[in-house]
C-alpha cells in the first residue's frame, strides 16, 4: 500500500505556521470551536479578530478552490441524519470539553497541556469507536 504522506505533512506544517502566527501576533490560541462560539458576543463588544480569522478560513478555501479545484473533488457519503447528529454532538461536545482538533490537538499538545493531551486521546478514541461500531451495524 502506498501512503501519500507529503500532502498531509506539508498541510500539517502550514497549519502549525498559521497557528504560530496567531499566537505570535495576538497571543491567542487558534482553537476554532472556541473562536466560532465566541464570535457573536465578541463582535458585539467590538472585538473583531475572531470574525477576521473566520473570514480568513473562508478566504483560504476560496483561494484553494480557484487555483486547484480538484482538492475539493471528494464527496459526502453519509446519510443526512449523520451530519445533523454529528453537528449537534460536535457543537455541544467541543464547548463542554473546551476545544476541538485545533485548540486541544494542534495547540494544546504542542504546549504539553495535560488537559489537551487527555482530550485529544479521548476524542480520537471516541471517533475510532464510533467508526468501528458503525462498521459493525451498518
Amino acid at each position: 500500500m502506498e501512503i501519500n504522506f507529503i500532502y498531509p505533512l506539508v498541510g500539517g506544517l502550514i497549519i502549525g505556521a498559521a497557528s504560530s502566527l496567531l499566537q505570535f501576533g495576538l497571543g491567542r490560541i487558534s482553537g476554532i470551536s472556541g473562536i466560532l462560539a465566541n464570535t457573536p458576543s465578541a463582535t458585539l463588544k467590538k472585538d473583531y479578530w475572531r470574525i477576521f480569522f473566520l473570514m480568513g478560513l473562508i478566504f483560504g478555501a476560496a483561494i484553494c478552490l480557484s487555483f486547484k479545484p480538484q482538492l475539493f473533488s471528494y464527496t459526502f457519503e453519509a446519510p443526512i441524519i449523520s451530519y445533523i447528529l454529528s453537528g449537534l454532538l460536535v457543537g455541544f461536545g467541543t464547548r463542554l470539553g473546551s476545544g476541538c482538533t485545533s485548540g486541544h490537538g494542534v495547540c494544546g499538545i504542542a504546549r504539553l497541556s495535560k488537559r489537551s493531551i487527555t482530550a485529544t486521546l479521548l476524542f480520537i478514541g471516541a471517533g475510532i469507536a464510533t467508526v468501528t461500531l458503525k462498521g459493525f451495524f451498518l
Binding site: 480569522f53 473546551s98 464510533t130
Partner: protein
C-alpha cells in the same frame, strides 16, 4: 487593525493547510479513524507536522509578549475534570459520525454542499444548546 489583519492572514493560511493536508475530506478522516478496518494513516502526518511546528516555535513565541497584546492568553484551568472528559467523548462520537470537525466544517462551506449546510446549522444549534445548559448548571 493590525490585529485583525494578522487574524485574517492566520485564518487564510490555516484554511489552506487544512485543504492541502486532506483534513477537509471526510472520507480521509473516517479512514484515519478506521484503525480496525481499512486504516488510512496519512492524517497522522497532519497532526505530527502541526504539533512539531508549534512545539518548536512556541518555545520562542512564549518567551516574549505577543505583537499586539500585553500577554499571551492561555487557559487557566489545568485540571482534568468531568466536563473535559465527557465533552471530548461527545465531540469524538460526532466527529466519527461525519468525519468533520469545526475547522473543516467552516472551510467546506465553500463547496456549497447540502450536507455541510446541515452540519453547520446543527453545529451552531449544539453550541447554543450548550450555552443554555451551561447557564442552568452554573
Amino acid at each position: 487593525m493590525k490585529k485583525n489583519l494578522i487574524a485574517l492572514l492566520s485564518g487564510s493560511i490555516f484554511s489552506i493547510g487544512l485543504v492541502i493536508s486532506g483534513m477537509t475530506n471526510p472520507k480521509k478522516v473516517i479512514g484515519f479513524l478506521d484503525i480496525f478496518g481499512d486504516w488510512d494513516p496519512s492524517l497522522v502526518f497532519v497532526m505530527a507536522g502541526a504539533v512539531v511546528f508549534n512545539f518548536i516555535s512556541f518555545r520562542f513565541i512564549f518567551k516574549r509578549k505577543p505583537l499586539c497584546d500585553t500577554q499571551h492568553q492561555l487557559p487557566a484551568n489545568s485540571s482534568i475534570d468531568k466536563k473535559l472528559v465527557i465533552g471530548s467523548i461527545i465531540f469524538g462520537i460526532g466527529w466519527g459520525l461525519s468525519g468533520i470537525c469545526p475547522g473543516p466544517g467552516i472551510v467546506n462551506i465553500i463547496t456549497a454542499k447540502s450536507e455541510i449546510f446541515y452540519f453547520m446549522t446543527s453545529l451552531f444549534l449544539g453550541i447554543f444548546l450548550f450555552s443554555l445548559f451551561d447557564k442552568k448548571s452554573a
